[in-house]
Amino acid sequence: MKSFLFSAFSALSATVALVLACASLGAQADHGAQYSQTEIAAGYRVYSATCVQCHGGNGDGISGVDLRRGVFRRAASDEDLARVITTGVPGAGMPPFKLEPTELTGVIAFIRAGFDQTVSVRVGDPARGRTIFDGKGACTTCHRVQGRGALSAPDLSGVGLVRTVGALQRSLLEPTSAMVPANRPLKIVTKSGETLDGRRLNEDTYTVQLLDGRGRLRSLAKSDIRTLTYATASPMPSYGSRLTSEEIADLVGYLASLREP
């Protein structure tokens, strides 16, 4: 294993790794691949017997690599991943692995699914996905991508870095079950009587920071707040009945390609 601890905690190499990762991204979703639950489960078995030793249970055991979130140093496409796995990375401590073809396909599927064995993930064409995002899906009514769209829901410019494709698909089909607590819509009534709706950006024992419904960054002392409530249901509708499964796959492909750090 490479001297993980120094690279892991050196800002310089972290930046380099990030730049490399970003440079190679975008291509990830170009393959238009589909990964079945069977393949993913097979990949899990390979991963937990082999890869986990260095890459860890969460896939982020090696500096600059986060397998679950599709952050790689030397790979973009599925073909790249297969090459790295079968030839290894001489000098960086990764040995070559001799896997059966189904094992190799499986472990790539497991990585692409973000280690989520509970879903069949289908990743479609990002370009078509973008058209749906801006058009039929009307996603920009609430979401923003690279300065385009509204702000009442989370900015998605980097969502491909922080959500697995499995979680992205789930977000489109079951928005409430996929809403992480940090994104729960926030409603605040201040002691002076002002009502604020928005999204929590940060919070501590004494203060809360939010983006309010009018796009303003607000920071409030909790001592000035009368009530602070988080909604547990997502205001986003399910797209399972609004879009075809092809269109969902394309949207997943597009969202996975959004990797502004």
Partner: protein, 551 residues
């Protein structure tokens, strides 16, 4: 030459001599009687009893609101800064990651020297390039390194004197704890519990680095406790030691917390109790001979390292004068032991616990393993962890940083030992209400808090060792990895990931003062004095801050 011009060089000389003599010897006797010089902070835990209780009285509940920033020492590297500084006669010695040492004027924060140790590229650590501090004996500093060495450093010159290897870094051996100087020896233990090491602690000659004794935390064939392992599992049994021991000079015993067994999460791969993992061991300071042990978590499958600092206190326990050892364990239970014999006196959960339904008469947990996929309280990071607690002889209370409402879903997987590779046998995630969504990460990686009360939160809690009940709770929104300092004026200093530095009333838990320093506080505050002025120092984020009363 005027008289003035004549005298000035003499004054300078006198000051220089004063400064030189002031930075002289930290004798074994001084370390034993550290409480008699509260202006200094001579060892990691501020004294052999590890109470982190300062006898300085200048800052008190009445004037604490007048604390102001005196100086800041910015760090040049990134990542959690877990060190506790030493302060010896006006000079502060502090480590920064990975293995730098700085000597600093504790009055102004201006640096005298910096020593940078270059680690072997073979070094590997599970959880960050951490170093928690130094020991000092005579005029020499002692630091453990990430590549598993012990280094002696000339405290005046900032230059290395000797350097010995404790274990092979390519096999995962490392040192992150601050060593402890006891009499004529330097005591230290090895980390690497996630790499299938065989843990040990050892004593070294401060002059030469010669190893004087070694005690394996995993007993080998023929040794007592070996029967708690099956087959060859002891060879990769873990039992790392990554926190500083405590010491009772009267009993001549050192008290060490021992880490998790290996592999971490698959207990079926190592049937038996797995002594002395997740235990406190009492070792003779001269010989390293085991006097007694007490195991908190037999056959651990939760990574409940028992590396917490043992707090020693002579108290009237339920009416009888007792030499106690108090321990708030990562497994969620608080224990009071007799530190002469290791006998269990009492114990109870201090946070929600469901991995055990309680403790039997001998303090052994009555285990209640949860079904696969179900949450286990406390979670992997524990009800508390390595962050130093404090005991105040004045209030009689034990203070600690706890994680409340925090659970993990553990998974057990096959594991094959490969030298130098992670040997975990499973893993864990925090309980997230969103299946398939990325789980909240355990550490704090930015000024943004992605923890919410859905996952858990931090608190300072004050426990009464007589009743095992909470006296008070100070809740924080984010979790906290801060150590705790109490003072003889009933102040309690602590921090947390949110970057607030607090002075609480040690009797009530009320916030008397706070400073918003911004960076996570993942270390223990200390107090010291120079020229009659008391300072309180803490590391927040990448800077060390020293506060004192407004002039």
């Amino acid at each position: 030459m005027t008289l003035h011009a004549f005298i000035r060089p003499l004054l300078v000389l006198a000051l220089a001599v004063h400064a030189w003599s002031a930075s002289a010897q930290v004798t074994a006797d001084r370390l034993r009687r550290a409480s008699e010089e509260p202006q200094n902070w001579l060892s990691y835990s501020g004294g052999y009893a590890s109470q982190r209780h300062s006898l300085l009285r200048q800052v008190d509940p009445g004037n604490v609101k007048n604390l102001e920033l005196k100086w800041v020492l910015p760090n040049q590297v990134f990542g959690a800064w877990q060190a506790t500084p030493l302060v010896v006669d006006g000079v502060m010695y502090v480590t920064q990651r990975p293995n730098d040492v700085l000597a600093v004027d504790a009055k102004t924060g201006r640096a005298f020297w910096q020593y940078r140790y270059t680690n072997s590229p073979d070094a590997r650590v599970c959880c960050g390039a951490n170093n928690r501090g130094l020991a000092m004996l005579g005029s020499t500093l002692f630091m453990g390194t990430l590549d598993g060495h012990l280094v002696a450093i000339d405290a005046a010159a900032g230059r290395p004197l000797w350097n010995v290897a404790l274990g092979d870094p390519a096999l995962g051996y490392s040192v992150t704890m601050a060593p402890l100087a006891v009499k004529d020896k330097i005591l230290v233990g090895v980390g690497g519990g996630e790499y299938g090491i065989r843990g040990f602690v050892a004593a070294f000659d401060p002059a030469t680095g010669k190893e004087l004794w070694r005690f394996y935390t995993i007993p080998g064939p023929g040794e007592r406790g070996h029967e708690t392992w099956s087959g060859d599992t002891w060879k990769t049994g873990g039992g790392s030691v990554w926190m500083t021991p405590s010491y009772d000079p009267a009993l001549n015993l050192t008290y060490w917390g021992v880490g998790n067994p290996g592999p971490d999460w698959n207990g079926a791969l190592r049937p038996g109790d797995n002594l002395y993992t997740d235990s406190v061991i009492a070792l003779d300071a001269d010989t390293g001979t085991l006097k007694w042990h007490f195991q908190f978590t037999p056959n651990d499958t939760y990574d409940y390292d028992s590396v917490q600092v043992a707090v020693l206190a002579d108290i009237s326990f339920r009416g009888a004068p007792t030499k106690t050892l108090m321990w708030a364990n990562r497994n969620g239970f608080f224990y009071v032991l007799n530190r002469e014999t290791g006998a269990f006196l009492s114990g109870a959960p201090f946070v929600k616990v469901n991995w055990a339904s309680g403790l039997d008469a001998k303090g052994r947990p009555i285990k209640t393993p949860q079904p696969a996929g179900s949450p286990t309280w406390p979670g992997n990071q524990g009800g508390t962890n390595w962050y130093s607690p404090s005991f105040s002889p004045r209030t009689g209370l034990f203070y600690l940083s706890a994680w409340e409402g925090y659970a993990s879903i553990f998974r057990s997987e096959p594991a094959t030992y490969v030298p130098g590779r992670n040997f975990a046998g499973g893993g864990h995630t925090v309980v997230t209400p969103v299946p398939g969504a990325p789980a909240v990460r355990i550490g704090r990686y930015s000024p943004l808090n992605d923890w919410t009360d859905v996952v858990g939160h931090g608190a300072v809690i004050a426990l009464d060792p007589q009743t095992l009940q909470r006296k008070w709770t100070f809740a924080q929104y984010d979790v906290t990895d801060s150590g705790i300092l109490t003072t003889a004026t009933d102040l309690l200093f602590t921090g947390g990931r949110e970057g607030y530095f607090y002075a609480l009333d040690a009797r009530s838990g009320d916030v008397l003062w706070k400073a918003s320093l911004g960076g996570q506080i993942v270390n223990g505050p200390i107090s010291y004095a120079i020229d009659g002025k008391q300072y309180v120092a803490v590391i927040s984020g990448n800077s060390l801050y020293a506060f004192g009363l407004r002039d």
